[in-house]
Structures are given as structure tokens and as C-alpha cells.
Amino acid sequence: MKTQTHLSLSLAATPLFLLMAMPAHAAGVSAGSLIENTATATYDDGSGPPKTVDSNTVVVAVDELLDVTVTSLDTGPIATQPGEEVLTFEITNTGNGPEAYTLTTNPAVAGNDFDTTVDNIAVDTNGNGTYDPGVDTILTGPATTPVLAEDENITVFVITTVPADVADTDESDVELTAEAVTGTGPAGTTFTGDGVNGVDAITGLTEADGSAIGSLIAGVTTVDLVKAASVADPFGGTSAVPGSVVTFTLTATVTGSGSIADLVIDDAIPTDTSYVPGTLTLDGGALTDASGDDAGEASAADISVDVGTVASGSSHAVTFDVTID
């Protein structure tokens, strides 16, 4: 405890002090703030005007509370595929003084179906909430945030690589931990003189150590294409002879999670056969041979059908006829 004797100095100090803004913070009074208490007595002693006397001014400095919270900003498990994936977190200084935090990641959380590889941790430098390679600053080891003011938060990205052999619906958690640079420990752990302006630093209820988990779920979509042929000869049989009509059926089946976009089914007209104009269909509906008027187009050389976006669990069939030359 520091005590100071100021005598009547408080008379001058009080009006100035009232003008000072005392911003309200979630974490309370800023570390290093001085609490100065002075009492004043007035009385009559029977002679002359009332007399005034001040007490000594008791001064104590507010110490620095070390606290932090980490939150995942992803709305739920991120649907992912082999390759780069970015998880987003927010780190908030819930203490009452400026503090930086050391960041560590754990991509091998117990219960994971697969583990990712963490490539980098980056700060959302331009504040747009999206990882921008080359713009957002990569934190290099040990990854440490800039100093955050009390109540300040920053967004950080954990950039991971999802392994190539991941199976559909496999899940993986990635944990990000932030620890106060000044120190961590059970609530009440004190670091003498390590706070702002030389006050003590003390861990709060978060133990100056926060973590959160971001989740990934693999959505691996596969397309199976099966080609079948049926033959009708000119004599009512099924022999492949010149003049026989062969109907090809191409069936695309999408399995796995999610959907695939821009599915285009192409096939070349086999040699020694000729395409029968006007026989192209998609799911039983006729398509013109011309290009641009519908999903399909056909020529003497090949056919092409743009099926578009196909949801998992559905299949589409394309048929066309050729005659054997």
C-alpha cells in the first residue's frame, strides 16, 4: 500500500478529477488507475467562521487483471475437402490492461476422425473477417498477437491442410489456445510488478488462458458414370450387324456429401457408327441436337449434356442412338 500526505492539495485536485472521463469497461477500472481517498471535516469551534481539515490522502493503484477469451467465429462445422481450409477465431482481452497473447494450435484433438496440418496462424489485418493471403499478417513462431487494449478483440485465422485421404463425413477439431504473455495460472496467480506502469499482474477467472475449438467435416463427393448399350437389329433381334441401332445409356450417380457443380456428360460417337439425329435425351426428355437452346448438343462426332449442379444421392441418365455402318 502506498500512502501519501497531500494536506489541502486535494482541494485543487478534486475539480480536475471530476472532469476526467472514466470510461466503463466490461473488465472494470483500467490497470494502473489510482484510487485516492480523502475525507474532509468541517466544524465550528466557537470562534470565527467554520473550520476545515482534511485527512491524509490514501492512494492505492488498481492492479492488472489478466484474462482472455477465445471464440470460434465459424457458425458450425466447416464442410471441407482435401486441401487448404481456414478456421476463424476471435480473441478478446477481457482483462483491464494492455496485453498480448501467445497462440498455439492443436490439430490432433482427441476423438478426431482425421487430423489436419496447421500451416499458419494469421491476423485479420484488414478487418474484413475473411482470410486474404498476402494481406493478412502471418504470425511467426512463437505466434503472438499484437498488444490488445482492454476489451479489444482481434480475429485470427488458422490455416490448415486437410489430408488427401480423408473420407466422406469424417470430422476433425482444431483447437486454438491464447495465453497471456505476462503469465498464466490458477485465478489469483500474481506476477509482481509485471503489470502496466509497474503495478502487479494477477490472473483472473479465465486463468489468462483461453481456448476454443473449430470443427471441420469432410464433404467428399464422387460421381460414378456407367455406360450401357442395347442393340436392335433390322430383323427384330439384338445382333450387332450393319444397320442395327445401338442405344447408349450413360448414367451418372453422385454419392457422398454436398453436391457437385457443372456436371457435363460427354461421349464420342464410336467409329464405324453414325449418330441418329434427334435421339439425344436427358432423364427421358428429348433434347435438340443444336447447341445453346437446351442442355444438350449432338454432332456426327460427339454428344455433350450439361447437367449442371447435381445433389448427392441423385442420378441422371443420358441416352442417344447410333446405327452401325
Binding site: 500500500m1 500512502t3 497531500h6 494536506l7 489541502s8 492539495l9 482541494l11 485543487a12 478534486t14 475539480p15 478529477f17 471530476l18 476526467m20 472514466m22 466503463a24 473488465a27 472494470g28 477500472v29 488507475s33 489510482l34 484510487i35 485516492e36 481517498n37 480523502t38 475525507a39 474532509t40 471535516a41 468541517t42 466544524y43 465550528d44 469551534d45 466557537g46 467554520p50 473550520k51 476545515t52 481539515v53 482534511d54 485527512s55 491524509n56 490522502t57 490514501v58 492505492v60 493503484a61 488498481v62 492492479d63 492488472e64 487483471l65 483491464n96 500474481t190 502487479d200 494477477i202 483472473g204
Partner: protein, 158 residues
Amino acid sequence: MTNIMKSMITALAIFGLALPAAAQEQPISLVGDVMLEKVETNETGESKTTLVEPGVIVPGDRLIFGTDYANSGSEAVENFVVTNPLPKPVRLASDADPELTVSVDGGKNWGTLGALTVTSEAGEARAAAHADVTHVRWTLAVVKPGEKGRVEYPAIIR
């Protein structure tokens, strides 16, 4: 000391107050102190409250501000009023004596907390809360020669 006296004189001059006879011995003395109230819970769940020197203090901690007064003169003094502005970083604890005389407007109006209101900038009045208290005050009609006592209030660091 010389500098402090100079500051005091300057301050008094600025505020246009009459300079008291500084050399004259005052019969009344005030001595302030502050203690940190610490609650410790033992293994059986019983909690014990102790007052300790405020070593490490952080928002939410409870402080007890005390002032010892004494009349060391040979004459009784009358209309003895001790006024204590609350330091900005603290608020009056909610279990403070409800009969305590307080001000919520910087010392203009006084009363028990329950009798006071706070008017917002929009002109709406509401009951005053402990966090609104700016000053506390104690009044004694007479302090006899040799009489001494103590006043205190509990506060929470904002």
C-alpha cells in the same frame, strides 16, 4: 513540504478561498486508511472475512475506507461534518448502511440513498443506485475534548 505548501497556496488562490491560518494548530485531526476485505472459504465451506492491507487489488475487490477523527483540543467543536468524496474508480457497496447520508450529484443534495433520484439527460428520473453515489457524509452535533471515533464505508472497485 515547501512545494506542497506552495501548491496549496496556489490552489487556494485559484479557487478564491480565504487562506486559513495554516500555522494555527487545529484541534481536530483526521487520519484515513483503506483495507481490502478478503473472503476465504475453508474446506467445510465456511467463509471467513478478514481485513488485510491492499496488496494486489483488481476490479470487483471490496475495500473499506476508514477515517479516524479525534478532538485533541480543550474545547468542544460543534456541527462536525465529515465529507468523503468517493474515488471515481469505486462504487459504494450495495450492503452499505442504508441510513448513511449520501449525495448522487457531486455534493449538492444530500439524503439517504432511498430518498434520492437521478435524472437522465432525457429528463427522466429514476431511483438512485449505489453506483450513483458521489459523496458520503457523517454529521455529529458535538465532538467533546478528547473524544475520538471512526467512520467508514465499504466500496467495490468498478
